[in-house]
Symmetry: D2
Subunit: 368 residues, 4 copies
Amino acid sequence: MAEKQAFFESELVKDFNNKIEKDHLGPLWSAIPELVSKEPKPLAVPYLWKWATLKEYLLEAKEIFTPERGGERRAIYLQNPGLKEREPWGWGAATQNLYAAVQLILPGEEAPSHRHTQSALRFIMDGEGAYSVINGERMFMNEGDFVVTPQGMWHGHGHEGTEPMFWMDVLDIPFVYATGGTFFEGHPDGLEKATHPDNYSSKQYQGGLVRPKADRQPKKAPVGAYTWAQTESALNGMMEYEPDAYDGYTVEFINPSTGKTANANIAAWMQRLPKGFHSQAHRHTNSSIYYVHEGRGYSVIDGVKFEWEKGDFFIIPSWCWHEHVNLEDGHSHLFSVHDTPIMENFSWQREEEADHKQAIKKTFQPYG
Amino acid sequence: MAEKQAFFESELVKDFNNKIEKDHLGPLWSAIPELVSKEPKPLAVPYLWKWATLKEYLLEAKEIFTPERGGERRAIYLQNPGLKEREPWGWGAATQNLYAAVQLILPGEEAPSHRHTQSALRFIMDGEGAYSVINGERMFMNEGDFVVTPQGMWHGHGHEGTEPMFWMDVLDIPFVYATGGTFFEGHPDGLEKATHPDNYSSKQYQGGLVRPKADRQPKKAPVGAYTWAQTESALNGMMEYEPDAYDGYTVEFINPSTGKTANANIAAWMQRLPKGFHSQAHRHTNSSIYYVHEGRGYSVIDGVKFEWEKGDFFIIPSWCWHEHVNLEDGHSHLFSVHDTPIMENFSWQREEEADHKQAIKKTFQPYG
Amino acid sequence: MAEKQAFFESELVKDFNNKIEKDHLGPLWSAIPELVSKEPKPLAVPYLWKWATLKEYLLEAKEIFTPERGGERRAIYLQNPGLKEREPWGWGAATQNLYAAVQLILPGEEAPSHRHTQSALRFIMDGEGAYSVINGERMFMNEGDFVVTPQGMWHGHGHEGTEPMFWMDVLDIPFVYATGGTFFEGHPDGLEKATHPDNYSSKQYQGGLVRPKADRQPKKAPVGAYTWAQTESALNGMMEYEPDAYDGYTVEFINPSTGKTANANIAAWMQRLPKGFHSQAHRHTNSSIYYVHEGRGYSVIDGVKFEWEKGDFFIIPSWCWHEHVNLEDGHSHLFSVHDTPIMENFSWQREEEADHKQAIKKTFQPYG
Amino acid sequence: MAEKQAFFESELVKDFNNKIEKDHLGPLWSAIPELVSKEPKPLAVPYLWKWATLKEYLLEAKEIFTPERGGERRAIYLQNPGLKEREPWGWGAATQNLYAAVQLILPGEEAPSHRHTQSALRFIMDGEGAYSVINGERMFMNEGDFVVTPQGMWHGHGHEGTEPMFWMDVLDIPFVYATGGTFFEGHPDGLEKATHPDNYSSKQYQGGLVRPKADRQPKKAPVGAYTWAQTESALNGMMEYEPDAYDGYTVEFINPSTGKTANANIAAWMQRLPKGFHSQAHRHTNSSIYYVHEGRGYSVIDGVKFEWEKGDFFIIPSWCWHEHVNLEDGHSHLFSVHDTPIMENFSWQREEEADHKQAIKKTFQPYG
Ligand SMILES: [Fe+2]
Ligand SMILES: [Fe+2]
Ligand SMILES: [Fe+2]
Ligand SMILES: [Fe+2]
Ligand SMILES: [Fe+2]
Ligand SMILES: [Fe+2]
Ligand SMILES: [Fe+2]
Ligand SMILES: [Fe+2]
């Protein structure tokens, strides 16, 4: 082994490798251990952003970036420090495949409609009275609600409320960037006019597992806002039973015409960690972005303690051991998104469960 | 044409046909017009059964047929008069492919568990306190609730209430009989013992379009009782908008892990006909069985008026023109089942819409 | 048990059953054992037809039934004696779900084009120079070739050769009849004119497991004639290895754009039984129709010996034990069709393997 | 527009962007035009490598890199100059998603068996007598043959011939690297021992579109070597008809149990450009790697002329206009691979056809 190592570090090999590289050729023998590694070694790192920081920047941005002055959206995205070197713009990557941002919209503002290859979903963090126009329908969104805009659908935003409104945007921007095929188009009318009654889709689905006759065929159309009231009711319905050892009480947002995740490429969950809950550790190939909807606690990721409270965001990269602990005197609620559908599409989803909790080696500090 | 007809009715042809029939051979030239007809000509006929008749018979059966004395279920099925000649037992056919019956269970009775190739679903007509045990879970069922037991699942019934209870059973018995592959097995324990908490599945789904993490993979497991409260809420959510021209406000019960119908072979709907509603006429290859959950009105099927009120059942065979009229001073609610999933499985589903209402030629009278 | 039996045969039960039958209602307690049987008990029976008989009748039919005089096809179908009582025309059923016939076409004759819900496939028994026109392409067919015309495709036939030509037609007529949804349409031009070069499809596929770029998307279009030369070559390629214990060397005709059976509802096989081969016994839910393409031998079906030779047809109904024996001094070749795709579509396919050969109780004789 | 540009280049914006970047946050307003571009702007560039160069390096590598001394495979890969900055090792990327290399194996050498998440396929460039051991079966490979080793299958190589042997390897290494989920495992026995007869799979499939009974269920198993003789026969079968305007006569290698591409993530084609053929121009979202199996000619890619001859490799990145011209006095044969299945998996496949040929702006020269 040492002999092999010595050979690969020899001048002979280096010279040869250098020589062929001039002709834009590469040496598999040297590259293979890193390119085809024995298990996932993501460049993405576990990280945590405080809501206080994000909010401060967004309020500052409020003055600088108006819809008139430029930029279609007033949004600040989470840039994973391990993926920063990717050109350009770190590919906007919070994890290997997903982008996440916080968007601020002010009363009366309008974010013009557009459509793109990238898929999106939103989780409403704070406020009420804003709406998305998706394929001609206004969907009003309030704190705790969840909304999807799948690939290729027209979408824009407006705000009829009286207070600033914050929400989380998640897209598959880095995945599309890596893989190819991006198309983008602005809507000719700016913010698309509504052609259906407001909240048409979500009202039709307010009764649960029954579906309007017209939605019989698989489609990617949204069901509008998945309201917090419904999500909470589902979690309440699970409380008499045992929580999942790794994720507590967890529900997934679905597309009722396909039985798949609400957004075809991005799974979205609401997790309830009951009082005193301390999960087992596990790891999986999919990466995750967490937003703390309510409560406080910490997660241990590869031996590092990440302390979180309402409004914070944190990242669990692929194949990192992790466990969640609730410190709230009641439930904590974590909203999270995952690139699981992509993994499953290629049979890459794997999971491993640990039989003991992790030793905590240190507590996370933001990078300097 | 007349010449052809004469030829086919000639002695020459008849003699030849008879001769080969003795060797168990058949003449395509004579058989093809009936076997491969230009459009569906179902032997099934439109029909209607009054609840009063059914109830009277079931109450009489109550004394005669007890679980001890024999017969696993106290159920009387709808026998389509057009399909009666099918041997044996008219194949239990209400329509070409579906069986429907009313089952009566008394307080304290138990219907032992079994499983079979045939798929089932139930709609609770009257009463409360009965339950189905499906794959080890007791699902309590009350008036207006809907329950499925897909192919191959253990199921039995019990009743902890104080009054007789009636429900509608629908199975794909005639379809399985025609096509082959029936298997049936009794449970070794009689009525299976519950191994999960009561109503486990349905409570988990009470929040609507979110799904427990554990149900991510497609499965045919039921979500328990789809409650009337949820179904009604969905219908209420649709009321601000225009009803479907043919079916009013209609929701379909779904399997949230696949996005398909709750029972893979049988579609089930709840239809609300608002006050004054008179639908357009249409026809389709799927057949339908209707149960009047609430209200009164009539349906016109191929020019015949079928008057219905709460508790009645009626049949719309394949490819018959039909329209529905509500006469209630409020909503009428129709529960219905359809062999649409079978049709769609083979790309046989077709629909045709009429541009005018039908002339009524007569009013239905039960066959003598 | 005897007590139960006595109860069900009592006047009390009979009277009640008779009473409700008058109102077109049925007693589940009495009907269930036959309608939902413990395992398949097909009404279809094992049967065998001699080629000599079929040929004699077809040659006689040659004079009587001409394209001019009527009947679109000169074909005699196999009528399973167990399914004869089905009205009308025994549903043309050779097995529960499939129809099989022998068609005779004379030099210069034309069978006009039509299309229908029913799917078809053909195996060429004898002769050369005939063709099918399928979706505007002439596909010439010679002895041993296999051709499909899936649901909804225009098809007609012509014959440019000099001798009478015989082929086997297989359709899913009884299945469509039972289930519903039949549509039929004649072509406005009689025999459709060819708009593509002759044998276009099959020439493109002559190289095996490579597919023209243009056929990338799933389609039901035929690949034309699957020639005997190709089928034989595949069987030759398997000869160094062990035969399947139940079916010898067996290949299945496929649709290269879907990887499924060439005809979506009907599986078709060519089986080679090598010299001295005597298979193990097994049974399965799918039914089978066999045509002896070459050789002689016998099959044991539920203990009855069916002796066959070139040109004969025989039936193995659902769930009957069966084994095949080759008596030829060389290979025997059996062409066969199966309703397996239908069974698999509903998860009804089951198979059971026996650990010993069957005792022969008697030898088949045609029914009187 | 200019005003917007000025704003985004202002100190105000730059300062703000810099400030948030320190907290590992990113400004969507600045990043969005590049991350979500209006149409694909691949970093990958069109490029061409001469066989003479590759061969010279491989023969030199022959002395340096032996199986004993290290490196599991003696392979030199094509490094797209536009993707070289990706860390590490340029991700081994010939195109956005695919890796391609030439491997040299000497008589008597053995490349040990391993398995990995990445999928592979091979095209045999020169020589005979080598084999791959795939899931326990030796598949001998000769010039012009095509072999697949899907995700997760054990594979290793040996060589029983007498001359050095060259083949092209294609894997989805960059795609897996970007997306995550890589696992790799060495076989405990070094080169896996054969447990099936040699060439078992391919012999069974030598007859074309018939499939062994045992392969009825979808699987990813290879059919062994897809021989040049079969591929050529398919191309010959197409010659009477018109070539495709963009790709000449083209066949795709398929998996006969699924009807999909032979390798689930990578499409592979053999294209015949007949004498005098000059294609129309088109572009598509999928990227392509071409290997010149026979002949000479040139391709015009985004206005640049790439001259090729037998043994050369060239790249067509996503969304670049391209057309192919044959200069051989006979057929040219191009083998090519495409990430189309990945594009199609996410509905990203788009194609655009030009109505005129491109103007040639210059002729390609290798980068210095
Ligand atoms: Fe957007
Ligand atoms: Fe996790
Ligand atoms: Fe049952
Ligand atoms: Fe209808
Ligand atoms: Fe036909
Ligand atoms: Fe069999
Ligand atoms: Fe490998
Ligand atoms: Fe192209």
